[in-house]
Amino acid sequence: VIELLASVSFLASMPAVAGVLVTAGLLVISRNWRITVTALALQYFFVVLLLTRLIYPEVAAVKGLTGWLICMVFYLTERRASAIEQTEVPEKGEPVQRWRRWVLSARASFYLLAGMLVSVVAYTVALRFPLPEVPTDITIACYLLAGLGLLLLGLSQAPMQVGIGLLTFLSGFDLFYVALEPSLAVAGLLGAVSFLIALAAAYLRAAEMAARGEEVIL
């Protein structure tokens, strides 16, 4: 992992910030779990790239591994949920037509607009109120992650979206806080917090599917 990070270290500035913007934007807009989980995994990759400029690559790699483990938890949960949902589709009617997947719904358009607005605000705030101890591009990434994470929290009450929103918000904070407190104990506890948030969200998603399954049986 460290060798991989070293080989792509040329991306660890504005390209990584752009990557953060795109992936966090996708998390806000998309409700397709495959896109969401992929975007979250990529987001952790870009965050790790930026982290390598602030802390030892080994520590950044461990943070990245925690993030990808979280993505694995989400993937397995959503895959199971998707399998259960597919068994219910015949009872609910025709599946969604393939071409419709590529058309932005009114909801997605609204989320896109809201995401763009929050991104502009985050960029402006980053320039006007720079964070101490971190360079400007990382400041922008921190504000983007925190802002889009908060937006995601405000837009949905679904356990997975709330969980991903919290994790995105925490990634933004973590990116800033490692520069202030590079302690391994804090890094470990923050990693534990992220992992427990993911587990809690997955547990609630599983409960949602179990309750739905019972309703179908009844």
Binding site: F169, A200, R205
Partner: protein, 478 residues
């Protein structure tokens, strides 16, 4: 030699695992959970801090011995002893009620795990690690709050969200304080810290407008697990706030401290008092009662004196009697009506679940701060302390209590409606007709009700603890 802090952290964690394995045997798992909490409460309250005590097989426990964990200190201070005893004994009460109200729920093992984490939060230094432990506890609470076989709880997610949002402020404050120690002239660092701490603790304590998680936790979760969060987890946050005020004395002497606390507490009391009577669900009613109670404790703190601190602590010590009883009552009534707690679904349920109805009534009385209940002790004393300087605040507090009682009264009217009295002439209760409370459940609830009334009639049982605890804090000492 066993260090006290290690015992307080490890034993509940170990017992959480044992209780989880034995969860199928409800009486045994509840007995172990209650026994562990009571034993730890007694240990923390009675054992000497600085002298070794010989226990099994010649081993010794030194309660006050400092433990170093990854370079961080775990130390049991005098103030933490009563705080932790409060957490352990309240947890024991909740576990005791859960034995009959929520058998086989994750509340017992998770509750023990949470006790370990919250004890760690009170013991660890520096305080930033406490914030992280509280956050981990919030994430674990979600598992206890979620009822098995039901849709995901809004309460657990909201609670987790607000606790996570509070985390950055607490962590950054520590860094700002370290910088201030190096550059004492940079007073803007203090202002920034004060602002961050205000926002963080507002989120954690559910101060309006960050209160939405409080009614959500109370209404959309296992009732006793909700009560656990609102009394024990929230209680730990209160003690953490006192630790911050003790560690950073400039916070309480900040010119905006008193007005800010007064405005925040008034907002909570007014909001809770206004919204409580309008609720059609008993869970949300309990949530707004908790909001008023937190507002009252904050109002006492806003007095800015030792007397105010005593009243604030007294309010915290009395809170579990009201909220836990209400939660037990709501749990029993939900069970009698197929899981719903709205007034329409509960119409007439009071006749089939009289002990749960009694628990709701007595718990409601206590949360409202009315006589013959534990809550009256703190609320009456606070009203008397406020009257000479701020009659308006005292009146608002009284009216908020009345608001909660109106909500309880509406609930009782629905619960005790005879089948012929319902609006359409039919009993709308959808619960199982063969549901009955059972003798053992009645005994458990009766014991809890008796505890609430006895403490209300004899406040000298708990009041000295609040006075003793205040002596440890120096931030209001002139």
């Amino acid at each position: 030699v066993i260090a006290g802090p290690l015992l307080l952290l490890v034993l509940p964690l170990l017992m959480a695992g044992v209780v989880y394995i034995l969860l199928r045997w409800t009486a045994l798992s509840a007995l172990l959970a209650v026994g562990t909490a009571v034993a730890l409460g007694i240990v923390v309250l009675t054992l000497p801090v600085d002298q070794p005590v010989r226990v099994w097989g010649g081993r010794e426990i030194v309660l006050g011995e400092t433990v170093t964990f990854f370079g961080r200190e775990l130390v049991l201070q005098q103030a933490d002893r009563i705080a932790m005893a409060f957490l352990f004994f309240t947890a024991a009460g909740i576990f005791f009620l859960a034995w009959r109200e929520e058998p086989r729920s994750l509340l017992l093992p998770m509750g023990l795990g949470l006790l370990s984490l919250l004890s760690g939060a009170l013991l660890i230094r520096p305080l930033i690690y406490a914030a992280l432990l509280v956050e981990i506890a919030a994430a674990l609470s979600v598992f206890a709050l979620q009822a098995e076989g039901e849709r995901p709880t809004r309460g657990g997610l909201r609670y987790l969200t607000f606790t996570t949002l509070a985390l950055p402020g607490l962590l950054i404050t520590h860094w700002l304080m370290e910088r201030y120690a190096l550059t004492p002239d940079a007073t803007e660092l203090l202002s920034m810290s004060a602002a961050l701490l205000t926002i963080s603790f507002s989120l954690l304590l559910g101060v309006a407008p960050f209160h939405t998680w409080v009614p959500a936790v109370a209404s959309d979760s296992v009732p006793l697990a909700g009560a656990f969060v609102l009394t024990i987890s929230n209680g730990a946050v209160w003690f953490l706030l006192f630790d911050f005020l003790e560690t950073y004395p400039w916070l309480s002497s900040h010119p905006r401290f008193d007005p800010l606390i007064s405005v925040a507490s008034l907002a909570m009391v007014i909001l809770g008092g206004l919204l409580a009577p309008a609720q059609r669900r008993l869970g949300t009613l309990m949530g707004y009662a908790a909001l008023v109670d937190s507002g009252a404790a904050l109002m006492a703190l806003g007095i800015g004196s030792k007397q105010g601190l005593v009243l604030s602590l007294l309010s915290l010590l009395m809170r579990p009697f009201g909220l836990v009883l209400m939660a037990a009552g709501i749990g029993g009534l939900r069970a009698s009506s197929g899981g719903a707690d709205d007034l329409d679904a509960l119409r007439g349920s009071g006749w089939r679940a009289p002990w749960s109805t009694a628990a709701l009534l007595v718990g409601g009385l206590s949360a409202a701060g009315l006589p013959v209940s534990a809550g009256f002790v703190g609320r009456w004393a606070l009203g008397r302390a406020l009257t000479p300087s701020d009659v308006g605040a005292a009146l608002i507090l009284l009216l908020a209590g009345l608001g909660i009682m109106i909500g309880i009264w509406r609930g009782l009217t629905a619960l005790l409606a005879r089948p012929g009295n319902s609006e359409n002439g039919q009993n709308q209760n959808t619960g199982s007709p063969d549901h009955s409370e059972g003798g053992l459940r009645a005994v458990v609830v009766a014991v809890a009700i008796a505890g609430c009334v006895v403490v209300g009639l004899f406040p000298q049982i708990l009041a000295p603890l609040a006075i003793q605890l205040v002596e440890v804090y120096t931030f209001f000492t002139p």
